[in-house]
């Protein structure tokens, strides 16, 4: 992917902010949908123009964030159901090729998966990282 590619992030919380900065460093085009100007103000200066203020599920917000032209949509709001709804909208209404939703509750990942939604669960991934490190420590005596 390059600067011609557009990734839309719905949600301007810690994950959205860090992800926006990372994708920008990777040279990708980024739009970040924020519920308020206060949240958008937390974006780094280089991404000030990337903010789209509004309800991410409102059609007007979707249009302003250029979802129709997006190559990827990542839903990272603080609400699992909202993220799932955004992912479904991204796939079904806008046919975005790469769509994923963050889920805070690991128990929901399977249910959303059954709906065809790709999920990223911070808690499940965090548990995996801890587990890998403990097992590596037990095997090698070194904690990474």
């Amino acid at each position: 992917m390059d600067g011609d590619r557009l990734v839309v992030l719905a949600g301007c919380n810690a994950i959205g902010l860090c992800l926006a900065a990372r994708l920008d460093r990777m040279g990708l085009g980024v739009r970040v949908v924020a519920q308020s100007t206060g949240r958008a103000a937390l974006l780094p200066a280089c991404l000030a123009d990337a903010a789209v203020i509004g309800d991410p599920l409102a059609r007007s917000t979707m249009q302003r964030s250029e979802l129709a032209a997006a190559d990827a949509l990542f839903a990272t709001t603080d609400h699992d159901d909202r993220n799932a709804a955004l992912a479904l909208a991204g796939r079904r209404m806008f046919a975005i090729p790469i769509v994923a939703a963050h889920v805070a509750d690991p128990g929901r990942a399977a249910a959303y998966g059954a709906l065809g939604i790709t999920t990223v669960c911070a808690e499940t991934l965090t548990a995996s990282v801890f587990t890998q490190r403990v097992r590596a420590l037990a095997a090698t005596g070194i904690l990474s």
């Binding site: 992917m1 990734v7 810690a14 994950i15 860090c18 992800l19 990372r22 994708l23 990777m26 990827a72 990542f74 990272t76 796939r91 090729p97 790469i98 769509v99 994923a100 963050h102 690991p106 990942a109 399977a110 998966g113 059954a114 709906l115 065809g116 939604i117 790709t118 999920t119 990223v120 669960c121 911070a122 808690e123 499940t124 991934l125 965090t126 548990a127 990282v129 801890f130 587990t131 490190r133 403990v134 097992r135 420590l137 037990a138 095997a139 005596g141 904690l143 990474s144």
Partner: protein, 145 residues
């Protein structure tokens, strides 16, 4: 594999998950949580460790949890300040050789590192997860990361 003596602070979803898994792996595990009800997350089938109800910020509670005989402390509470404080006490006061902490605020990671505490940040782990999806550019429906 070396059998470890592991002290896990916090018996929420993450702490109990790790406790059950590490106990099943054959390690000695002690879990500390202020809330006795949280201990119900520990599996009666696979968890064969010890439960200590108390505030891990109190050294007396950590001693009761046998911290002086522990190889590895993992702090998993929902509060970064608690995780940091307990991790520092484990490392500096009790000299635990290996300490890991969950830290929600990515900005705190460098400070933890300077103190010799390994960290896992759910925010950055999630960012890695999304970036991995992007780099694979799967677009395949229904997968979980």
């Amino acid at each position: 594999m070396k059998t470890l003596a592991i002290l896990i602070v916090g018996c929420g979803r993450l702490g109990s998950h790790l406790a059950n898994l590490m106990s099943a792996d054959g390690h000695g595990v002690v879990v500390v949580d202020r809330d006795e009800n949280a201990m119900s997350r520990l599996s009666s089938e696979v968890f064969s460790g010890y439960r200590v109800v108390g505030d891990a910020a109190e050294p007396a509670v950590l001693r009761r949890a046998r911290i002086e005989h522990t190889n590895l402390v993992i702090t998993t509470t929902d509060d970064d300040n608690t995780n940091l404080m307990v991790a520092i006490v484990a490392r500096r006061v009790f000299g635990v050789s290996h300490v890991m902490a969950r830290v929600y605020d990515p900005a705190r990671e460098p400070m933890y590192r300077e103190l010799g505490i390994a960290t896992v940040c759910p925010t950055l782990v999630a960012v890695d997860g999304f970036c991995a999806l992007l780099s694979r550019a799967t677009g395949a429906a229904g997968g979980a990361v």
